[in-house]
Amino acid sequence: MIKKLINTPGEEVREMLEGMALAFPEIIRLDPQWNNVYRAYKKPSYKVALVSGEPAHAGYVGYGMLDAAAAGATFTSPTVPQVLAAIKEVATEAGVLVIIKNYSGDVMNFTSAVKMAQAQGIKVDYVVVNDDVSIAEKEKRRGTTITVLVHKIAGAAAEEGWSLSEVKRVAQKVIDNGRDIGVALTPCSVPAAGKYTFELGPDEIEFGIGIHGEPGVQRIKYIQSKDLAKIMVDKIAEDLGLKKGDEVFLVVQGTGGTPYMEKFVFYRDVRKYVESLGLKVFGSWIGEFMTSLEMQGGRVAILRLDEELKRLLTAPAYTIAVRITGPMTLPVVT
């Protein structure tokens, strides 16, 4: 057994969602039949509804982001009828955009549900996020951190009343301009399995990991934060073809068990290196946005921005994990 602050293994997703709903009843509502989380407050009928999966996404349900998150078991895609239930619950006349992470399981379950919903006359389309630059072949790339920026940007567009095809266009633009890469210093463990997903030596790092505790693409020797930052940023910058003067948004995060101190040291190194390449940092999120339970490690995601993406990225949002209520007005003092 691996000690965790949980009760019966297998119940952890449900109980986590219960905790979230108890803490934030003004933001989310839990559907106990399906472990689906819905936005608690009304949305306008002209608004395209956004649906995604995984327990983590419950933190992104709310004004300006998702309308529904279908939570599967830990590290497992939600099921077809579960996703279908979510689509049906939040569908509006304007339609539904389903945001799928490019994992075999997710793609199969979500696209099956989309087909069934379409068969039932619901207007629904989807995008597949494949931002994980550690994998060479583009079609195989997993969907990781950029998914959250798709939620944010497509969510803002939907809130403004854009059409389904327009919301999908901007979602795809985020996917086309965003990349992510992650490393693990330690493994994590699924409660019901009670074992670590891999073992790492005291001087080893898993490079190019997904978000479900899978081993990485490569095992490398331990290197310092600033050396990791360089390799990771280089991979992304090269793949995106970033050039001097490009404006970018950074997401620098831990992998669930990474202390604050390390996140900010790592951010410092990423930021300094990004700026040394002549890129302009428009803004950053630093924290935990797409995690792998108690794993220690780090992820870097970079999104190339244009004016449209900048505006939507900074538009208001009110979810458990992301709150943007506009720049705060401070009392003016002279």
Partner: protein, 221 residues
């Protein structure tokens, strides 16, 4: 010689599959931890537990084989999730479609059932072929051998399954040396070599449960 399986046979086989899965839950999970995300046994067990629960609520006397298998398919689709959920969901759903309305199936029908089941897996998997280190590596040679046996005008289900299971086992074992091209293990590239595929293994266990039951039935006469 066993020349047909009836509703009650299929019912019993599924109950036994659930039992085999629960006994191999940790094993399957460990295989998945090596090249995936360490949940395959847990996922399969969650599905077959519900499948059996649902089957127990069915009136078997008024059910056909299609109903049994559709119940399994729906349970798997409903709670398994991940890759295995839709893969096995479609496997059993396609089998169910072939068996729809039938209370008894012979080797020919069984062969078509498994053939369609395999096709379901391949389709939803995105055109999965043998050699990509997935459950298809177990199911494909099984179906090929079954077709051969059925074509040779045999009605002997036990013999046909014995040979097909051997082919399936070889297929499963062959996954050890493959580089994964589909599913989560494919992210590992060459690092996936040396590990047996969890889905290929669960498929083998399911097929073996079919065969073990048939053999037992035959020996009882």
């Amino acid at each position: 010689m066993i020349t047909s399986l009836n509703t009650s046979d299929i019912y019993t086989i599924i109950v036994r599959v659930a039992d085999v899965i629960v006994r191999n839950k940790d094993y399957l999970t460990q295989l998945d931890a090596a090249i995936g995300d360490g949940d395959h046994g847990i996922n399969m067990d969650r599905g077959f537990e519900l499948a059996v629960e649902r089957l127990k609520q069915l009136d078997i006397n008024n059910s056909d084989i299609g109903t049994i298998l559709m119940t399994v398919a729906n349970a798997l689709l409903e709670v398994v999730g991940g890759a295995a959920g839709p893969l096995y969901g479609m496997f059993f759903m396609n089998m169910a479609t072939v068996a729809s309305g039938k209370k008894e199936v012979d080797l020919q029908t069984l062969t078509t059932m498994f053939e369609q089941g395999l096709r379901g897996v391949q389709d939803i998997g995105g055109g999965t072929q043998p050699g990509e280190k997935t459950m298809v590596d177990t199911l494909y040679p099984f179906v090929e051998e079954l077709k051969k046996q059925a074509a040779s005008n045999s009605n002997d289900i036990a013999l046909a399954f014995a040979n097909a299971l051997k082919a399936a086992e070889n297929g499963m074992i062959a996954t050890i040396n493959m580089i994964a091209k589909k599913g989560r293990a494919s992210y590992l590239g060459p690092r996936s070599v040396g590990h047996q595929d969890p889905g290929a293994t669960s498929s083998y266990l399911i097929l073996k449960t079919f065969y073990d039951y048939i053999k037992e039935k035959e020996s009882k006469g």
